[in-house]
């Protein structure tokens, strides 16, 4: 049985520490009046040596600013570290990412479902 849909972290190894989630979350909470990460429902903890960024999520309500079904923290996460899903899907995504990063070093940095590789080839007149 799958648990409730929630915001989850695929792996702290995928967090770039950019704090997009923190910053955009605070924008929603402030009803668009500004950015104040201190008030955010997500916080990125960075360990002293900068070795790992750990997202802490403390969100209990539905996001008021969704895009294609995703809350804004998930939408703006550049690596795909944050996902909006249920427990069962989270486990299968984690397994998928583990395999992907073994196969292709690029996926140490991003998740394969957000950015299917190879990317759309650019047409000549776009370059």
């Amino acid at each position: 049985m799958s648990a409730l849909i929630k915001i989850a972290v695929v792996s702290a190894d995928l967090c770039s520490g950019c704090r997009s989630c923190e910053t955009w979350c605070s924008f929603v909470l402030a009803k668009g009046r500004g950015f104040r990460p201190e008030e955010s429902r997500i916080h990125i903890e960075t360990d002293p040596q900068g070795v790992l960024n750990i997202p802490h999520i403390n969100c209990l309500e539905e996001c008021q600013l969704k895009h294609e079904g995703d809350p804004i923290c998930v939408e703006m996460c550049p690596t795909g570290c944050l996902i909006y899903t249920d427990d069962e899907d989270l486990e299968s995504k984690r397994a998928l990412w583990e395999q992907a990063r073994q196969d292709q070093p690029l996926f140490r940095l991003i998740v394969p479902w957000k950015y299917p590789y190879p990317w759309r080839p650019l047409k000549r007149d776009e370059l």
Partner: protein, 641 residues
């Protein structure tokens, strides 16, 4: 008065008296110069005149955030400015999170005045600002400084700007190091060290206000599409996202742009490559504040073998590009080099080009073992490269000479070695191709801050055919984008300078000026207006950039810089790249300079802005200043190299 975007406050810190004060930001200055790089120079022009020497009490060090800093557009960009040891603008930007924290703490600028008698560090936590004794920080490397500050304050999310041993020992172009591997401001680290300011730590908890939230969000989503790997129309975005400047080596090699062996050669084989780098050393992504690129920075780690345990973040520097300059083929050595430079706050370019110059001098017999402390100094000797880097940091033996910067070192050694010293205005080159990228040659030559690609980036413009027809560009892209022709470069480089000045003043990261965002400034205007509540049009917006560049020019003119100082190294002017049959740039540089000064409204003979040009930009204070000092009557010819 209510401010949106801008915090509206300037923090002043007098290191001599310990006095700390805040003042309201001048609304007029904010409107005229935006923020960050622009506001910094507005304050420096008014407060640090030519009577103040770089190492005098009166020189100031300014850290600037801009109105869009603290929003996701700002990307943590900070601009640091001071009067460079060689008297031009010691300005540089860095990413990270420091600048965003400064905005959350409620400040647009921090102006550091005078010198401390003993080392101090500055702590800024919202309204609580204090100077603390730094005797325990002095002599430590930048990563140690960060760790100590974090432990001492107990604030996990604190961000630290610090100097390392290079700055403390006054190496010519020492930089300021921001948490943990971001750095910028060549020469600012030197002045920060001279002021005995070990670190500036900041943490904020306030809000950066946005005037029109809905409009800002819509503008941001539009902006964001440019960097989505699935939707981007820019071939560089994917490769840049993962390989940063490393991926440029192949391109540089194919085109004869690499500066192999101190730019004696344009080809470097066998080369290091980005795939090998990614595979062996990259462990996870690392980004600046709200960077939309998945991994413009990457955490690296040497897991085994030589220098095992060395870790850090890599961004722009382009390991693979660094290696050819001194001719080495070992990734562990270039990674270790980066780590040494970041810990010491030593500018990589200063170290690389100084050591490469010394290697060339050694191989040509201009210097010998008696000059180099008994060392063999030849291209390709990776261990010697690291040993000499360490000597520069410690200012030991021959390293003490190289720490002066390559131009000054060449003056001391003489014997024709000036010819191999690759620097402009006393600041070493970056790894930019100048013989065949004509706009790059012009861009570097006329820079008010010495070699700094961020001022006229990017060198890789979009296909002119893809530029929307409704855009009214002030140059002809079909002519101007031709790399090896002097045609229309004046108007192109003027446009690049003006528009990049805006982006660096908002601020945002120059790597965000990708695809059409480098050409079409309407999206940037909408981000600025919706955030700050301003309502100027595009012409007014671009004019702010023009004003910033003119004020920067006025600053260095007042310091005595003239047309002759706007040049590139003789090697690029006079020597071909034999491997690729690329002719030297020769007289084309002077032709393009004529063109540039004319489209700028600057005097062609002197490169001094004309009175009507300054007045047209609302720079009446500069006109008064120039008249009082007799700048337009002076017969100075420059010559600051």
């Amino acid at each position: 008065m209510s401010w949106h975007g801008w915090a509206g406050r300037v923090l002043r810190v007098d290191l001599a008296t310990g006095r700390i004060s805040t003042e309201e930001l001048s609304m007029q200055k904010a409107r005229d110069f935006i923020g960050c790089r622009g506001l910094n120079v507005a304050y420096l022009y008014d407060e640090v005149g030519p009577e103040v020497g770089p190492f005098d009490q009166g020189n100031k060090l300014i850290f600037g955030a801009g109105p869009l800093e603290g929003t996701p557009i700002g990307m943590g960009r900070v601009s640091v400015l001071t009067k460079h040891p060689n008297r031009f603008l010691g300005e540089g930007g860095a990413g990270g999170h420091w600048s965003a924290e400064l905005k959350f703490a409620g400040y647009d600028l921090v102006i550091v005045e005078n010198k401390a008698e003993r080392p101090v560090w500055l702590l800024i936590v919202d309204d609580k600002v204090e100077l603390r004794d730094a005797s325990h920080l002095w002599g430590r490397d930048t990563k140690e400084k960060h760790a100590i500050v974090r432990e001492e304050t107990g604030i996990a999310g604190i961000h630290v700007a610090s100097v390392g041993m290079a700055g403390e020992n006054l190496a010519a172009n020492a930089k300021v190091q921001f948490t943990l591997d971001h750095s910028g401001g060549k020469g600012c680290g030197t002045i920060m060290g001279d002021k005995k300011l070990a670190a500036v730590a900041v943490k904020g908890s306030g809000m950066v206000s946005v005037a029109h939230g809905d409009r800002f969000l819509a503008a941001y989503r539009n902006f964001h599409k440019t960097f989505d790997l699935n939707t981007t129309r820019d071939a560089f975005v994917p490769s840049w996202s993962f390989n940063s400047a490393n991926m440029l080596l192949e391109l540089f090699n194919e085109n004869g742009w690499v500066h192999a062996h101190n730019a004696q050669m344009g080809l470097f084989e066998p080369m290091l490559n980005d795939v090998e780098y990614m595979d062996k050393y990259v462990v996870r992504p690392e980004s600046s504040f709200c960077c939309p690129l998945p991994a413009c920075g990457r955490r690296y780690e040497i897991k085994e073998g030589l220098f095992a345990g060395t870790t850090g973040d890599e961004r722009e520097v382009g390991f693979a590009q660094a290696a050819p300059i001194v001719g080495i083929h070992s990734y562990p050595h270039v990674i270790k080099f980066r780590d040494m430079c970041n810990r010491a706050g030593l500018d990589e370019d200063q170290a690389m080009y100084s050591i490469a110059w010394a290697m060339e001098c050694y191989e040509r017999g201009v210097i010998n073992r008696s000059d180099t402390d008994g060392m063999e100094l030849r291209f390709g000797d990776a261990d010697a490269f690291l040993t000499m880097t360490d000597k520069i940091i410690r200012r030991e033996g021959f390293g003490d000479i190289l720490a002066l910067g390559v131009a000054e070192a060449a003056k001391r050694i003489g014997k024709g070695s000036e010819r191999f010293a690759l620097s402009i205005k006393g600041k070493e080159l970056e790894r930019m191709p100048q013989r065949n990228g004509y706009q790059m040659a012009l861009g570097l030559a006329v820079s008010e801050g010495g070699p700094d690609h961020t001022r006229w980036y990017p060198p890789y413009p979009p296909n002119p055919k893809t530029i929307p027809a409704d855009m009214d560009l002030p140059f002809d892209p079909f002519k101007a984008f031709k790399t090896r022709s002097p045609d229309d470069k004046g108007r192109l480089v003027r446009w690049l300078y003006d528009s990049r000045a805006i982006v660096e003043s908002l601020p945002s990261c120059v790597y965000m000026i990708r695809a059409m965002l480098g050409i079409d400034f309407r999206p940037w205007l909408e981000l600025f207006n919706s955030c700050t509540g301003e309502n100027g049009d595009l012409d007014d917006f671009i004019q702010k950039g023009t004003r910033i560049v003119n004020l920067e020019r006025a600053y260095i003119v007042r310091e005595g810089f003239r047309r002759a100082d706007d040049t590139i190294p003789r090697r690029m002017l006079e020597e071909p790249v034999k491997e690729h049959n690329i002719p030297p740039i020769g007289d084309n540089l002077e032709i393009m300079k004529d063109d540039y000064y004319q489209v700028r409204g600057w005097d062609k003979e002197t490169a001094i802005p004309k009175e009507e040009t300054l007045l047209g930009l609302g720079l009446g204070n500069v006109v008064e200043d120039f008249k009082r000092r007799g700048i337009w009557e002076s017969t100075e010819e420059g010559g600051h190299e």
